[in-house]
Amino acid sequence: MAAITAPARATEDTAKRVGGGRWTAYWLLAPGALWLLLFFVVPFYSLVSASLFDPNGSVLTGYDVTYHVGNFGTAVKNYYPELLRSLWYAGLATLVCLVIGYVLAYAIAFKAGRWRNLLLVLVIAPFFTSFLLRTLSWKLILSDHGFIVDLFQKVHILGSDGRLLNTWFAVVSGIVYNFLPFMVLPLYASLEKIDGRLIEAAGDLYASPFTAFFKVTWPLSLPGVVAGTLLTFIPAAGDFINAQLLGGPGQRMVGNVIQSLFTSTQDYAAAGALSVILMALIVGLVLVYIRKVGTEELV
């Protein structure tokens, strides 16, 4: 009897070990869930709560949550230029990133040959220095007595007292520069997966290289395009470092407003409301975008 039951029990044990108990999956999820709870759910509630603070409170006298929905209206009324400007700058920067990034990713994926890995490392290399430091260096590059301004003045793109630093051009350039790798990498991942024989086949079927690109390469790279544009647009819309260092008072983005409302003005109600609005706006835009482009596989 013993000889017969023993193997049976062994099988059961193995099954338990491989398939796991009922709760194993939950235990494995626990650390991640706890992390999300602490660093996403709680701050999220705290932020939404701040957006509903009584606007007459202050940091010193304390804020009560009075569900004052009017905060949203006030925030939009006071800061819609900055909101629109953020979306405009982020959109423009995303577009420029897409054009530059696509060409770069295409070249790395199809034309780089043995330089491919080196080029990929070069795309990531800027991350080895701090974001802030790299943005500050742009101040030197674009400065009024720098070579770019000199050159632009000589060829009369800029007037003799024209400048680049602290203009919209500098801010958008800064954003493009800072977020370009986030565009290049997903594009590269998408392009690299494309089977070269498909493009050859298009050629065999008398498609011009132009047609082949728009009928074959571009549609197949769409998941990369969607991922890249999202990864660029979302952080760019909330960015405030580029506008702060490279812009002027006329280039204020919504991130700058939120930062100053929290730190210098200390108007938590307005700051919270504006943050929630920005978040809702971005989520909304992204949803519409994904629906429109209709891609299910994000890389």
Binding site: T61, G62, G248, N256, S264
Partner: protein, 390 residues
Amino acid sequence: MVDTSGISRRTVLRGGAGAVFGLGSIAALKGFGTAGLKQDPATCTSTDVSARDKRFVISNWPLYIDEPDKGYHSTLQDFEKQTGIKVSYTDDVNDNSEFFAKVKNQLGGCQSTKRDMFVLTDWMAARMIDVGWIQPIDPAKVPNLHENLIDSLAQPAWDPKRAYSAPWQSGLTGMAYNKKYLKKPVKSFGELLTRKDLTGRVTMLTELRDTMGLIMLSQGTDPADFTDHQWAQAMDALTKATSDGQIRRFTGNDYVQDLSAGNVLACEAWSGDIANAGDDNLVFVPPEEGMMIWADNMLVPNLATHRGNAEKWIDFYYDPHNAAKLADYNQYICPVKGAQQAMEKVDKDNVENPLIFPTEETLKQTHRFMALKEFQTREFERQFSNVTGV
């Protein structure tokens, strides 16, 4: 059976769960309100362990104290040697509001900031004393302070007896220009706002009281006593200069780099910065309309455990010789009487330096900013930051 008209049990359950979650969430939001931050220094206290624990922790602004060099003992080293107290000195105060945000939760909740002293500008010092975050300093322990503090700083409205605060350094806010790039010097502050050849080449400071004070002076308003209408007038001038592109940017301490590089031709500036910049092309100019004067104050927060050592520190820096050594490095206004005589021995070149020892004449042209009520502060800060972007 009740007719559910095609609504399944599952849908109802889901809807119910959703509603409960939604309502629960809305109720949970209530818990995130913030408490008031007022304290009473008489009840929020700790024991002073200065006598047995010879340590002292201070936070100050960057580049605000002399540093030891070959053959030169800094004032801090002198202090340690003289008293046997070990000083831990950190320069982590970059901005008044930012520092306020850093310590507000501890001080507002009667918890220790782990600091025995920090140094903040008048208006912020006033604000902190007002909400009861600052310990009084025993006048008997700081005889030098009450004997040597210069008259112009002795009785600020917010601490008339200097019972809670002692000025570290004082300074002037005026203008500066780069003579390498700007051939026609600026004389009045109004020029910064209107001169056409400066368009886009001017920066102003993000300190509301400095910038708005100077604009008011240029409009003939007294910044120490102004009406809402006069404030609005000054605000209009600032808004116009900003939207016209006259003002390129609003800055903190970082304006010196732009001025040096020639990106900015003329700007609003702090006196000591220009002297310390190490660039001979930069010139500090007192505007014809007058200057703003301010002081940064040493404060001992609630629950600081080395108040006795802090008092020794204050007393030490109010000794004229030590004050002269410090001012020789800082180039800011020295708040200590007798330091000018002591400067003879420290550095002869600086005895007549008007930035360190301003004459009565100069001091007559300086102005202070009106003390603001809490609701005014909020409203003014909001308007100001809407224009400046900080």
